[in-house]
Symmetry: C2
């Protein structure tokens, strides 16, 4: 019997029938999947067939905070959304922070499942036990910021929290995200799924508390966590001040900051133009998630004498890459403006920037013409074209908009002519801001993550920040990276995406103690008695379940790969010069990875492993 | 002794010295000036010499709600701001509604006086008795919407209300306004005065109530007011649904809707393109001021297939004119987008649109070239140029921005070459949306209002809406319009700008009973015992005081005039065809007006009149 942490209820809303009901959250579910991404992927695997069209009414959107959300556990106001991704066709899992996760818990729910499709635009209003589906025809078409302030104003509650889509989601762009505050459930096109359901927004306000099973134990676990955070050489001294843009410096120093669609990584230094110094100068305030003592999110104001004076946004490191290095636009003001525009239109900044950068290379190679693009001269470094094309994409406008709006993979398929060699994605998900040629485990995670090229699903901090946990690794080395990647992926789910906690704790503060800390925190709030080993097993369980889902969606070993550029073109200059990942090296790493996972050579989980993990009656 | 309605306190903040103090509000002040504009103009006349530079630290900004603000008197959440206007050099008085006026009352103040100039950008935080001046260097440069949401977020109070300037005010554009919510203290460059003081924002939260001296009397007065409102044939049947844009139809039907800088009034019908039908179709919700049962402010969403999809704003009738007829842009989506952009940048939509329309005529006449304008092809009807130039203006950018940013009069002075003939302003204040050639008293008010061409200071509803109060008038007739204008101006101050109430009550619901109603309302809340006649005298007193101020600022009879176009070019087509106001007719009306006011032939108040009004020791 669950004693705290969990609200014990799943809220299920069917937009086809209008039915709204609550279901009990079972203790076994909590024990086996903890929460967040674990809950979402379990429900997706149970309820959504792998072969459906992600934009059909058969798909579901599953929102889930974790048992720690709404408690005073630091950095725990996080929430996962899980769906079948229209961008990849695989499991789509995305997390976001802010205040919304806490609000959903306080309203009394551990999970919100949205299924079916409304005939007309609607939004969902959740106020504790009062849940209703309301007409949204008047707000359909609004940008995400206006939608949030409009609903707060017209529901007469400035403290209501809203997740919503913008025009990009309405127009089913596969790069559409879901926005809450200035934060995104980004990537994987989760906003398009919401749009396909005619669901504009979810507004939530809760008044219930979250119970703590054992407050003394919780206090102890919490203070040990706070102590570890305090001791981190990075978290408060740097992260609180500069936020993720500090990573521009770190990754540039490794020669891994991608430039111009990865054709010239290491050749150009972006540190001065868009690195932590100038970034910090433009920061005006931090906007922390609920209860976060770190406050890495830094609001920045574009300079008066720039092309985008007054633009205000909180771009993360990944956006410095996607609208900076990837597009060759070494202009921080453009990045702030593009970030703000994407947030308003409900576009994922990573996929959008990467796709624009890819289109720039196609343009320079003559594979995309000014005419096809509707008049845009899309050279690398053209910040105006970059900025203007964002709106074209969100509205799926003829020309550049139609071509780019479904991301890099679809653009490459439309263009053909060998462009797939430098279409920077895995399984359809665009590359993150770390050139995998310079960090092999980080790369192997791109190749094998259940969501595609997703740094956050198995971040190799051992390679990126030289943190020797579980031991030290040479970032260029191939051997051992299969095992390491398994560990990184499992621990990430176990300690971050399920409980739910901020990823930066694992990377910056708790790497050596995260599993035990998660066990202590979850046990103390819930009355469960998980061991650190069992917590790790949750991560492995979810990774296996996600793999099974992806297999049922048609994925196999051949999809665990890179675009050809990564496997044939060495990095040209700098500290990672000469590095690449040959097909042979990839195969070596994959073999080791599959073996570490007890999967077959083809990358299929064995029945023994499934049995060991108690995954249950799975047919694939 | 004041018993209610008033908080009894004036808050005075000196930004040069940092001194913050409160002063007592005297009963005589309340009795003689009631509140709002009356208080503001009295303080301006007492404390700010007429010959100072409005953008120097000698100028003051005086905010004043009225005795009814914060009570349940309908439509009373209004506030005046008074300053010496940098646009006109005369009294600058502007009102705005929303929630801010109530908040200032609830914080305990009838008047807020801001004087001096801060060395660095600051904002003022008022929370009841806790008043502080805070650094605003981080938010200097932000747009007005971001400023409001930023302050609410970082002051951790979503219900705080904020008045602020945008980039236009920071850059001292004489067309800059002060924004609160989506509302403006518009016109007369009040935002530039705030910018000249390095004051970015005023954030207010109050927790005190407003006392009512005689609740039974108040209830009676209130219900008679509500009854009159209910009986209005316009207020609820139309105004609640369509808001002020319904006036496009009404004024077009009179052949008075200005087109293309007044060169072609009556020639083109804007009713279908931007009139009440399409306007109502685009309305998605009303956003009433605090406690308003009417809710005329209608939020509109630009259409998806327009050039400005997703643009959201609540343009008023005047903006349909300034960015519609005046610029020849018969495109409602452009108007919504331009309105939104002006609000964000803190630009007055009327002055901005009129100045752009004037520049369009200069461009078509060859008096402004594409080169001078920095590449803009500024033909009438070019909505893209119109929209883009707004940003140039707010940032005072080289070319179009520098030329247009200080309004029509300054632009005309820069261009010369006889352009003053069709520079549509009086005393520097741009024309409103009623061609005065078709309504002579309405026009005479433009010529004589203490603020310049300001429809709201003496709206001739007798001519515009054919309301026979105090009696019926032929709108084309000259005779009798001097007396009527005096009455309109005095009653407007007495029943609207001082108490403070919404102007639409006088125009739409209470014209015959406004003076008595104001007396009843003000007496019941405050314990004063003003007669209707004394209320009217307050209006006359304030108009005389404002006139004295303007004389001390250098104005005289010669400034009570029109641009030559109005006096020489008859309206070309439609129901007002052939109408103009000859110099002789203007002089006739002025003579009658001055006489009605007991002013000299030169338009100077006589000592007898000042004595009668007990204006006191005034030296001019």
């Amino acid at each position: 019997m669950l004693k705290g942490g969990y609200m014990g209820r799943i809220l299920r809303i069917n937009l086809t029938t209008g039915e709204i009901k609550t279901e009990e959250l079972k203790e076994k579910m909590a024990r086996d999947y903890i929460g967040g991404a674990g809950f979402g992927i379990k429900i997706l695997a149970d309820e959504v067939p792998g072969n459906i069209d992600p934009l059909s009414e058969d798909n579901k959107l599953i929102f889930a905070p974790g048992p720690l959300s709404g408690t005073s556990a630091p950095c725990s106001s996080r929430m996962a959304v899980v769906t079948k991704s229209p961008l990849t066709g695989a499991v789509g899992m995305s997390t976001s922070g802010g205040h919304l996760p806490v609000e959903l818990k306080y309203a009394g729910y551990d999970v919100l499942i949205i299924e079916g499709k409304s005939d007309i635009p609607v939004y969902i209003l959740i106020k504790d036990d009062n849940v209703s589906i309301k007409k949204a025809d008047k707000i359909w078409g609004m940008n995400t910021f206006d939608t949030q302030s409009f609903l707060k104003h017209h529901l007469r509650d400035q403290n209501i929290r809203v997740a919503c889509i913008g025009p990009a989601g309405e127009n089913l762009s596969k790069m559409a995200c879901i926005i809450n505050e200035r934060r995104a459930f980004g990537r994987k096109g989760v906003g398009a799924v919401m749009g396909s359901k005619n669901l504009k927004a979810i507004a939530v306000r809760g008044s219930k508390g979250v119970e703590i099973a054992d407050i003394e134990k919780f206090k102890l676990a919490r203070s040990s966590m706070l102590k570890a955070m305090k001791e981190s050489p990075v978290l408060y001294p740097h992260f609180s001040k500069t936020g993720t843009p500090m990573i521009v410096d770190a990754i540039s120093a490794l020669g891994m900051f991608p430039s111009e669609n990865y054709r010239s990584t290491g050749e150009r230094d972006y540190t001065e133009s868009i690195g932590s110094k100038v970034s910090t100068e433009l920061s005006i305030a931090s906007e922390p998630c609920y209860g976060c003592p770190v406050g890495c999110s830094q609001l920045k104001l574009a300079r008066k004498n720039s092309n985008y004076p007054g633009a205000l946004s909180d771009p993360e490191y990944e956006t410095y890459y996607s609208f900076g290095g990837q597009t060759g636009v070494a202009n921080i003001d453009s990045i702030i403006a593009a970030d703000n525009l994407c947030d308003k239109l409900g576009l994922d900044t990573m996929s959008t920037g990467v796709t624009i950068g890819f289109a720039m290379e196609l343009f320079e190679n003559g594979l995309l013409t000014e005419e096809q693009l509707g008049g845009f001269k899309l050279n690398f470094g053209n910040h105006e074209a970059m900025y203007d094309i964002i709106t074209e994409i969100a509205y799926r406008r003829k020309g550049a908009g139609e071509l780019l709006c479904d991301g890099t993979k679809v653009l490459s398929e439309k263009v053909g002519n060998g462009s797939e060699k430098y279409a920077m994605h895995v399984k359809g998900l665009e590359f993150p801001a770390y050139d995998p040629r310079g960090a092999k485990a980080h790369g192997l995670n791109y190749a094998t993550s259940y969501t595609g090229a997703d740094h956050n699903r198995g971040y190799a901090f051992q390679e990126i920040f030289a943190i020797p946990v579980p031991k030290a690794y040479d970032r260029f080395e191939i051997e051992g990276k299969g095992k390491l990647t398994k560990w990184n992926q499992d621990v990430r789910l176990a300690t971050t995406d399920c409980p739910t906690m901020c990823a930066f704790l694992l990377d910056m503060a708790l790497p050596g103690v995260a599993l035990q800390n998660t066990a202590d925190m979850v046990n103390s709030v819930s009355g469960l008695n998980l061991t650190a080993n069992e917590v790790e097993k949750v991560g492995e369980r979810v990774n296996n379940l996600a793999r099974l889902y992806n297999i049922s969606a048609g994925f196999s070993r051949k999809d665990d790969t890179f675009p050809e550029r990564i496997m044939t073109e060495p990095i040209k200059e700098g500290p990672s010069k000469g590095q690449y990942i040959s097909k042979e090296d990839l195969d070596k790493m994959l073999d080791e990875y599959y073996e570490a996972r007890s999967w077959t050579k083809d990358g299929v989980p064995t029945l023994e492993k499934l049995k060991e993990l108690d995954i249950g009656d799975i047919t694939i």
